[in-house]
Symmetry: D2
Subunit: 356 residues, 4 copies
């Protein structure tokens, strides 16, 4: 298929359709409202549904209800909207239902601003809702990768029966890039009959599936949590994705950076190479599970004397980098937040300062 030039937000909407998702619930918020605009037009064309909830709280429960009934479901929002969905996300994870969330992060906290940010790293990877629940989180660095990750998110959500989040920023959402769409996904979730509430007719049985997050018996609740933990451990084993850049030869410093920020870092690395300074980079494509081993191994490279987590946030991913490296290399953080994106020149300066 030929490449088409598309805005990221529109490409994300199209990707969901090509992944076979015909149920989109959302509430508009800058900088991702174009997804809703696009799908308001496209969903009816493909026999799908776009329902604008009366708030993000409602959207969260529309997702839960439809997911629990076995439908492929999807929403897009931005930071404050995701906070409003956080109770529902915890419910969906607890009830082990698949659902895909796209968070086009805006500057925070609070209303913040509408420019790009990575301030929701912690929320996405650790504390999205109450209780022991986690999302599988992917972070694209281009419109093409956003498309691929959204299309991958649905089968992953169904494999794990767990919410999956694709976390981008306003640059991913707003910029136009040439994009090539993979083939439509053909598969139906294969195990839907085993758990979804509307599976009865296909199951040819009269046993009921109960989709719920309430387990008043502590043994059952602990058991549900052990199932969740087992799934998260399996994600750690099977789903880690990352990209290494300029790590084949020796490098004096390792950058860890993701999403839009990593594109700026790549430019800095190229510029530094021209000056004869080698810097490697690990770009996590999955934020949870975090590529701990990849970061650790790359830091262990004998020439590497320092590791920096470069973020459009005030020091969040750096904690996962620290945990990965376990003190074997000095780890520091550099970043800005709220729409100011560190420039290649700033990063070069920081790198030079770190390697003395």
């Amino acid at each position: 298929m030929a490449k088409v030039l598309m805005k990221g937000n529109e490409a994300i909407g199209e990707a969901a359709i090509r992944a076979g998702c015909l149920n989109y619930f959302a509430y508009p918020i800058t900088p991702q409202s174009e997804v809703a605009e696009y799908l308001a037009r496209r969903m009816p064309e493909v026999g799908g549904v776009f329902l604008q909830g009366e708030s993000e709280v409602a959207v969260g429960y529309m997702l839960f209800g439809a997911a629990g009934a076995g439908a492929r479901v999807f929403t897009t929002s931005s930071s404050p909207g995701i906070s409003l969905m956080s109770e529902a996300i915890s419910y969906i994870a607890a009830a082990q239902c698949p659902a895909v969330f796209v968070n086009i992060v805006r500057g925070g906290p609070g209303l913040g601003g509408i420019l790009p940010s990575q301030g929701d790293y912690f929320q996405a990877t650790k504390g999205i809702g109450h209780g022991d629940c986690r999302l599988l989180v992917m972070a694209p660095a281009s419109v093409q990768e956003a498309v691929e990750m959204v299309m991958t998110a649905f089968p992953l959500a169904e494999k794990y029966r767990n919410p999956v989040m694709v976390i981008g920023d306003g640059l991913i959402g707003q910029m136009m890039e040439p994009v090539e769409f993979p083939d439509h996904l053909k598969t139906e979730p294969s195990n839907k009959d085993d758990w979804a509430s509307n599976g009865m007719e296909h199951r040819g049985s009269d046993s009921r599936n109960l989709v719920k997050s309430l387990f008043l018996d502590p043994v059952q609740l602990n058991d549900n949590n052990l199932q969740l933990k087992a799934k998260y451990d399996r994600m750690r084993a099977e789903e880690v994705r990352f990209e290494a850049y300029n790590t084949d030869g020796p490098y004096r410093l390792l950058i860890v950076s993701y999403g839009t920020m990593s594109r700026v870092c790549r430019t800095s690395i190229d510029m530094l190479k021209a000056e004869g300074i080698e810097v490697g980079m690990i770009r996590p494509q999955t934020l949870f599970p975090f590529p701990e081993k990849a970061v650790s191994d790359a830091a262990d490279s004998p020439s590497c004397t320092h590791v920096i987590s470069i973020e459009m946030s005030m020091g969040q991913m750096v904690e996962d980098v620290e945990r990965s490296i376990q003190g074997r290399r000095p780890v520091s953080w550099y970043g800005k937040c709220g729409g100011e994106i560190p420039t290649p020149e700033e990063i070069i300066e920081v790198v030079k300062e770190r390697i003395g």
Copy 2:
């Protein structure tokens, strides 16, 4: 003052009043509804206000509104209710307003159960809302400590103009213990005129205070985030609180545990000591800032060969323990979740297994 026998939830309500908080907004949820019941009666007696919001979302914004006007404000809730407040918490942090939250955690995720849990550790300490915001988080291990922490929470919230959370569990909330109340706090927030929206008459000036979380200019937003970061760094420097147990002599293993869970661990340590096995414990009283140095120092004790994070959650605090120890000792996790509390005997078995 003599000790009185009180239920934890009631003592928490009384503590807020004695801290000079006359504005309580809440929505009922087990296992903390007794706070609302108590304050529904007590607040009018002291000229205060208890307003039940129509939802936790509303409560969050009642807190924001009143806090922005310079009032001392307070809510109590439990896990799903805190998730519903998470957008507002991010707004309050962004707007730099003081507010005190008590989370009597119940089993999660989702509706979960109503028995004690520590499943909200990550949410409280890392991802409570979107954007770069953090709460100062304290975790009591007794009703007496809950009273002290709630009374401390108000001046801390005002010192930092930041939300403070006291995180307990159903055992703290439901059990009766003898409690002695400190003297009433006398102080008014001294700097209210500088920032609160209703300070104009006292300021004797016609300059306006604007209380907001929206900063469309990225330079201003980044600047606001730098102020937040500076405050969180200052918390790390000034507010760390922890308790060490059985760490004076040599010990073969270090337990890190907090809240109700730490009381069980203490019993296990006493029982192990009777067997001649020495185990030390660091009990974080502040979860953020986490007592990294205390944990690290205690782990560095030459006799100590292993560190366990014992939690009523599926492996959350253990990440902060790992970060603190930076690979110098093996760190592992033990826990249960959802109302099943590990017994002293189970913990003893785990300790023995770890130290081989």
Copy 3:
């Protein structure tokens, strides 16, 4: 087409579909929830939409939005739910949009009971919303008539660009009767392009239609009210519907009664005839416009000495009867309310008492 045996509520749902209405918004409430259950299944079969709002307030505005865009829209509810829609009904009437409401009245006021009642006569015919707005109101006395009135309601709503209400009670909704459906309506609203907000593409012009209820200029608002008044006067001239029973010969007393109540009255009239006592009845099929002339003419019959309004309400329609008869005959009321339906025997006793 052959007759089918159907429950009233289901027949009402089917009638809307056969009237070409593919947009049903509703919130469940006894005794009409079967309409929603029926249409939840049927609407997708015919390519229509059933959207359950988060409250009746929301449903009212879903109707307004879709009607303003030129869609044929429909809801069903029961007394308290209609009150919650009353603001929206006033908006829809003010903005001159077509919409069809079915009110399966339950005992009131307040939550009341779930048994049949006619307590909403005044609300439906006079004070449904604030401001000078009126509904065209029809009251069926059988399932068959309910079907016909619902199917008639849509073209009438479009003819007048005004809300139309079909008002029944739990007996109409719950009982099964044989029903024959008229042919599907073929017509599209012919004038939609002139006023609906989404008519632009068909109009082949770039002029905008504005659908609104706000007229800040008092001259414009007065003008809009004059248009409404002209429509209501035209309804009075063109849409009055009623049924006369036993009025061909002389009768000593005239009953005015509608809906389910009139069926009981008909039995009483038959029983009285067997005793040699002739009683006539006018059954308003439209409550607004009220059949003033028919009632007046029937009361003027020389043999008629008394008029009774027999209602399942505490004296509501009797006011319209009084206004119609203008003092030329004594008018009285008889009724019960809240689920107790006057029996034929009671009515016979009342009639005998009146005619002395």
Copy 4:
């Protein structure tokens, strides 16, 4: 007490306080928001509560809850806001609780305009909510009378345990007039212990009062409706209030007009008298109960050949005038709606036209 010059809306707020009402729940809407502004300041001064609900729907239920607990409660709103409260009004009437509503009517229907109107006559007097419920409705023609009616409304609401509405318009609300406040009301509702939910401690008994609107047993519901009907009949017997103007001598035409509109009519009558044309007027001060006998008697004056209902609405009160006169005189309507107020000259012209 000396007269003070006050805006109507502020005088209404002060009147409620002097009537001993310390519980004001409201949501802002033009043209009555000044009541809320005034009481936001005044209520705390007198130890009262002003709570702004999150919507008028919520306000309605705040009133119900507090009234059911025996508190004197009060709200003010304008047309669309009253529609949103209509479900709650029906619940309050059904549960037989006292509550006072002020409706400063704006042009309708829908959003309409913000200028004076009398378009809510029907809603207030007949169809305010579903079911057989009615309000006692008073309509002031001056700020002074608004004060007196509001102060009277509370004891009347308590006498009948029924909602009372004072219905004005933007002119009453916005204009400044000299006003003299009656003495503070001293009385507490004397029968509160018999029915309110919080009366138990005063009753010295352990019997419970149940405040509810749900009566699933049709006999009980009918009985509750009979109690309501008996109260409404008693209102008709005891509470009718009206003012006659220029009815001592003979007059050729009778005007029926209320509120602000009647002040314009009075000017017309004075101007006509100067021309030698006598016109009488009955000004209903209670709209329900309507002064049927007064209107009827005045119309029966031998010289009177015509009756006009002059309204700032499109023909609403005229129906009650017709019912009162029962055909003995021709009755017609004149009016405008939406902010255009008929001028004295217009009315003179209409009068001359009618009397030929």
